[in-house]
Amino acid sequence: MPLDEPTALERLINGILPENPVYRQLLGMCPTLAVTGAMMPAMTMAAATAFVLLSANIIVSLIRGLLKPHLRILVFTLTIATFVTIADRALAAYMYQMSKTLGPYVPLIIVNCLIISRCEICASKQSVGVAIADGVGMSLGFALALGSIASIREILGSGTWFGLHLFSYAYTVAENILGWVTTILGMGTLGLPDIHWQNWGIMVLPPGAFLTLGLLLGAVEWFGQRRRRAGE
């Protein structure tokens, strides 16, 4: 094996931030925009993608000696399509409501450029161990990307996170603390003003997805540019 190919550990760490599939490589945009309305669907999609990526990487790495240039893309696609079907059926069997929410986006994992590109760049050339590390790294990076976008969209758009109403809880806690403090200080009754979180409906709708991803991309770029300038 040539000495300048990344090791398993390098592959693993690369996938999380430096070569993050969404923020750096701009791959897998379709699910990133579609399922990030809330954390639960986003994490389910990240898990499904991780399953397909790891399985495809393992199989392709195992048969990498047999692959010839002409038909290898076909082999990759066949493998990926099979595992996506398995993931889709498993979701429909065990998480039926979630599979209805995710809808057509689970089969669209097949054309997620991320998986084919990992098969091409890493799994078809390196051993199973490295392929697994690469798959794990990229999956973590993908989950991180999806999670960051979904958190923003869900909190601003519905006031919840994973379905928990954050602002109501915070408000209740604040009210309780205020009540406790005023009782101890003997200040009589004081109440918090009647404020509620107004959902930013746009966040749950398509434009919100585009805007959030665009702004987050800008933020990641900005940090990267600052770090590069500091390093110079």
Partner: protein, 231 residues
């Protein structure tokens, strides 16, 4: 007449209201990658429309006759081999693999056709054509066809599928060309450095998506207008 109304609804819905890129988020990769100049964007849109139509035609035929639950061909094979006729033969688990082959074949076919009959066109964006294989929009069209061939009491005919596919392609072309026009203007503007490239493109797409949201409810308006015209 009712069929015509349904077809118009399907077409307008796929092109404008539920625009493939701006509502369903499919085809975003080429949308961001190829929308720098209006002529390449328009060419890409036409190529995608062409491929989607062929892929829709093939996948409708395969799904209707082979892949859907209770499809005629496998059922005939099953009963010919002595299977019980009360069992619904369901090959739909092979759908995704079949669609991938259909799409790859469609792209091959379109590539050959363009290379033979429009050589200068092929030279200018021949490299994009294989990329269309991984274009989510085409697989998405196949998935819509599959979804509408599941319920035996409400099956989509070939005309429904083709209208949806062509409508989707037209919508994609519209979105990508609009985007290219905007990005050509943006090239001359002072975009903040971190946002240059994909960042500002996505924000623009977001505003464009907001604009397209204004089309919601249009198909009911069309339905009412046609109903009034017919009175």
């Amino acid at each position: 007449m009712e069929t015509l109304i349904v077809l118009i609804q399907i077409g307008v819905s796929a092109a404008l209201i539920n625009n493939f890129v701006l509502y369903y988020f499919v085809g975003v990769c080429p949308f961001l990658g190829v929308s720098r100049r209006v002529d390449t964007a328009f060419g890409m849109g036409c190529a995608v429309t062409f491929v989607i139509s062929i892929a829709a035609l093939l996948s409708w035929i395969f799904t209707y006759y082979i892949l859907r639950p209770g499809a005629p061909l496998p059922t005939q094979v099953w009963t010919a081999l002595g299977g019980s006729p009360s069992v619904t033969v369901d090959l739909s688990v092979l759908s995704y693999i079949m669609y991938i082959f259909v799409i790859a074949a469609s792209v091959q076919f379109v590539e050959m056709y363009v290379r033979k009959f429009f050589p200068p066109l092929y030279k200018s964006f021949g490299v994009f054509l294989p990329l269309i294989t991984t274009n989510c929009a085409i697989l998405f069209a196949c998935l819509i066809i599959m979804k509408n061939l599941q319920d035996p009491s409400q099956l989509w005919g070939l005309h429904h599928a083709m209208t949806m596919a062509i409508g989707g392609g037209v919508g994609f072309t519209l979105a990508i060309t609009l985007m290219a026009g905007i990005r050509e203007e943006l090239d001359m503007c002072d975009v903040p450095k971190p946002l240059a490239g994909p960042g500002i493109a996505l924000i623009t797409a977001g505003i464009l998506a907001m604009a397209f949201m204004g089309f919601a409810g249009v198909e009911r308006g069309i339905e009412n207008a046609i109903a009034m015209l017919l009175k």
